[in-house]
């Protein structure tokens, strides 16, 4: 793993043509996450309409669109976080590894361990850095000894590119970290329970540009081991970081394709208007 | 894991259900003993009789003297607590600046935190002798002293609840009045208080309920002589003080005399319960008005 801070990322849409593009869709590789005619309701209000999409493994997929278009709502259906909100309803299917996660008898607790989430505003627990990362491991019964626990915590903090900064103060309060560090801690915390998928809901929107860059680099790195889905309202960020992009508008999926195509030659006029800044 | 979570939830639910069990328990205990009481004493005699002498050799079970005693003391208490409480609330809500409020409010709350037995001491040994200097005819046990002290004790309740109701009145109403050139007094009395009417009434009713249910001040300072009178200068007995009197004595359990405390308790419970319901309903109304 190279040191994230020195590798440059494509900084503008124009450079996209020269970077390594994602492999074209191949029928032999199964998709990781699939939505089939998904409708989502907050009470009577329909927030998502007939969403069907196939998200590939070991890639970064970005969801973009104006505020209120449903991209965060759809993200949260993937780990059933919307279940916590009373009055929500789902029609259609969401499949992970070809199994419908809204089917009968699905263990939501296990699902959420396999599908990790990082939130827009970082939410570390008011505990120590160590306890934040170890919490998921302990409650899921994933380690059997203290040394194993310490090892897992270190591994997760390294994956989140935070270890060097906190290794000497693991038992200090997580709330004393900076905003960017707290968000990387939340990523480490999510990675500790060894998910397959990592969902990131506008993870850098509350951070300064340098911290944002580190989060973006991290998301880009993590796709080697995980499937990453990132919601962002920042189009340049989507262009920099993702391999595939899905454009949502008013609860519908307008277009889903390789990132370079979405930003240079989209099929839908609506998409073109959005990415060129005519609205949103 | 699923089963563990289910057991936990059931356990928590049972603890929450305990509150319902408490209410059922109160009603059941009172009802059973009152029913036994009423099998021996006709209810008309109980509710409308004018002599209360259950511990005498020729016992009489007319509860009116106790009811009147309770009402008399509560009335005096309300004459103190309601106007003073409302005025304090108006001062704190409409006149005082925030630093004055921050000092005065907690000190006022201290009044509510003093144990009632301390107030009883104060009523018997300080207030009554003081009043006797003004009213030489005042007996050592009377309704006036404890009534006034009870009023002071309940004042913070009236003040804080009325203040809540007044602060819920939108500031726009006040501004409209000031813009027309009204003084703060005119705005408070003519705009804010009427707008907060249901909340203030709820506070008043809750205060009355509190006064009726108060025990130690009257047990210490009002006397143990049930007397059907509205004269505040003579000893009387309230419903609550009667219950204490019997509890302190040697009345054997299961006797009619013993059951009287439950019958009186039932009357007390029904009265305060009714008042609390009305107060809660009024408070719900004023919350809906301004949300």
């Amino acid at each position: 793993m190279s040191t994230a801070s020195t590798r440059p990322l494509p900084g503008s849409l124009g450079e996209l043509a020269s970077r390594n593009v994602a492999p074209p869709p191949s029928s032999s590789e199964p998709c990781k996450i699939e939505a089939k005619h998904l409708d989502f309701y907050y009470g009577q209000k329909r927030a998502l309409e007939d969403i069907s999409v196939q998200i590939r493994p070991h890639l970064v997929t970005a969801f973009i669109g104006p505020s209120g278009c449903g991209k965060s709502t759809f993200l949260r259906t993937i780990n059933r976080m919307n279940d916590i909100i009373p009055g929500t309803r789902v029609d259609g299917q969401v499949l992970i590894d070809n199994a419908n996660i809204y089917g009968p008898g699905v263990d939501v607790v296990q699902l959420r361990r396999r599908v990790g989430m990082v939130f827009q505003k970082s939410n570390p627990f008011p505990k120590s850095i160590f306890e934040n990362v170890s919490y998921g491991l302990r409650i899921n019964g994933m380690v059997s000894s203290k040394s194993e626990l310490a090892g897992q915590v270190e591994e997760s903090l390294r994956q989140a590119a935070l270890w060097d900064e906190v290794k000497d103060r693991l038992h200090e309060s997580a709330l004393a970290l900076s905003g960017g560090q707290q968000q990387r801690l939340c990523i480490a915390r999510a990675l500790a329970v060894r998910p397959d998928i990592l969902l990131m809901d506008e993870p850098a929107s509350a951070l300064d540009p340098i911290a944002t860059q580190r989060i973006e680099e991290l998301a880009y790195d993590l796709k080697k081991k995980y499937t990453v889905v990132i919601v962002t309202h920042n189009m340049q960020q989507a262009a920099r970081v993702s391999d595939y992009t899905a454009f949502f508008w008013l609860g519908r999926l307008v277009e889903y394709d390789r990132t370079d195509k979405i930003f240079t030659n989209p099929t839908e006029k609506l998409t073109e208007d959005y990415v060129t800044g005519r609205f949103g | 894991m699923r089963r563990f979570e289910f057991v936990i939830e059931r356990g928590l639910f049972l603890c929450a259900l305990l509150s319902v069990a408490t209410t059922v328990g109160i009603i059941a205990v009172l009802a059973v003993e009152t029913a036994a009481f009423l099998r021996e004493v006709p209810i008309v005699d109980f509710l409308f009789g004018t002599e209360w002498t259950p511990l005498f050799s020729t016992p009489r079970f007319g509860v009116l003297p106790l009811v009147v005693g309770t009402t008399l003391v509560s009335l005096i208490a309300m004459l103190v607590a309601l106007p003073m409480g409302l005025l304090s609330a108006i001062y704190l809500s409409e006149y005082a600046n925030s630093s004055v409020r921050r000092v005065l409010k907690p000190v006022l709350e201290l009044l509510a935190g003093v144990p009632t037995v301390v107030y009883g001491y104060f009523a018997l040994l300080f207030v009554t002798p003081l009043l006797q200097q003004v009213f030489p005819n005042l007996a050592g046990f009377n309704a006036l002293g404890p009534g006034i002290v009870m009023g002071v004790m309940i004042l913070p309740l009236v003040s804080s609840l009325s203040e809540d109701a007044m602060r819920a009145v939108p500031i726009g109403l006040r501004e409209g009045s000031y813009a027309l050139g009204a003084t703060r007094m005119q705005t408070s009395l003519r705009v804010v208080v009427p707008a907060a009417f249901s909340g203030i009434t709820a506070a008043f009713i809750l205060a009355i309920s509190r006064a009726i249910g108060e025990t130690m001040i009257v047990a210490i300072a009002a006397g143990q002589q049930p007397r059907l009178t509205w004269d505040p200068t003579v000893p009387i007995e309230t419903m609550t003080a009667y219950i204490v009197q019997v509890s302190l004595g040697d009345t054997p359990q299961g006797t009619l005399e013993y059951r009287t405390i439950f019958a009186v308790g039932m009357l007390l419970f029904l009265g305060t319960f009714g008042l609390n319901l009305v107060s809660a309903w009024l408070r719900q109304r004023y919350r809906e008005e301004y949300s």
């Binding site: 959420r112 | 109160i26 006149y95 001491y121 003084t183 210490i220």
Partner: protein, 284 residues
């Protein structure tokens, strides 16, 4: 009415309402001065350690003091787990159905029931029906029922104050509802819960009527030695002394009051200290 008249009326009204407020505070001051002047002379180590006596100058308050502390500790042991459990159910598990509403209405009503009624309940259920007799445990159970509504209400507020983002973060890691509550929500809510408990206990320690009614004695010459033993408490001892005609006993009562107020101040001070200390901890 001329403007000048209106303005002077306004000033007079302001002065009147301030005067009324200060009058109430003056009454409090008079009470404190009265009690201190009556009782300070009587307060001594012998008084605190001594036992009641027919001679006022030799009477001590130890059985009542021991009784009060014993009863309050037992009350806390009963009220805390049940109150917190009920609050957790209502706040974290309760659905907007009839049963939850009925429970909530019950709790608000019970908070306004006169304390002497709780004494009758304790007498009927704990002392007689459950056969506990006029014991410390029956008294504690009665006071626990009395304290429960306040504990539940303040615990609910403490739980509500825990940010939803902490709960979300926990669920997203695959934690169950109870794991989230036990490991994340309760630790954050604990200072608020303890503060509410201490405040409700400081009210309970001054309660006289319910304990007299359920059968605490007024003349007790021994400190309680087990939860089944009979007992008395500070406010009842004060009541006993103030009801005697002899003035010497009144001094004892005043001294007892000073002791009770000292206990109250300590408890309230503890509650405030707890709240301040943990608020700093949460801020990181």
């Amino acid at each position: 009415m001329t403007n000048a008249m209106r303005r002077s009326l306004d000033v007079a009204f302001q002065a009147l309402s301030l005067l009324v407020l200060l009058l109430a505070l003056a009454a409090l001051a008079a009470l404190i001065v009265d009690v201190v002047s009556d009782g300070a002379g009587r307060l001594s180590w012998d008084f605190i350690n001594g036992y009641p006596s027919r001679r006022a100058s030799q009477a001590g308050i130890f059985p009542a003091l021991a009784g009060s502390i014993f009863v309050i500790l037992l009350t806390a042991l009963l009220a805390l787990p049940i109150g917190v459990a009920a609050a957790i159910y209502l706040e974290e598990y309760g659905r907007r159905n009839f049963v939850s509403r009925a429970i909530e209405i019950n709790i608000t009503n019970l908070a306004a029931v006169p304390s002497i009624i709780y004494g009758l309940l304790g007498l009927g259920v704990f002392v007689r029906l459950m056969g506990m007799g006029r014991s410390v445990i029956a008294g504690a159970a009665t006071l626990a029922l009395l304290a429960l509504p306040v504990v539940i209400l303040s615990t609910r507020e403490a739980l509500r104050a825990v940010p939803g983002s902490i709960r979300e973060g926990s669920y997203a890691l695959g934690a169950t509802k109870w794991q989230t509550i036990w490991h994340q929500v309760l630790p954050v809510a604990t200072p608020g819960i303890l503060t509410g408990l201490i405040l409700s206990l400081s009210r309970a320690i001054g309660e006289t009527a319910p304990l007299i009614t359920m059968g605490a004695l007024t003349y007790v010459s021994f400190a309680p030695d087990s939860i089944w033993s009979s007992f008395t408490v500070l406010p009842i001892q004060i009541f006993n002394w103030v009801s005697r005609p002899q003035r010497d006993f009144h001094a004892n009562a005043a001294a007892g009051i000073l002791l009770l107020m000292a206990l109250l101040l300590t408890m309230n001070g503890l509650a405030i200290w707890l709240r301040d200390r943990y608020q700093k901890r949460l801020a990181g």
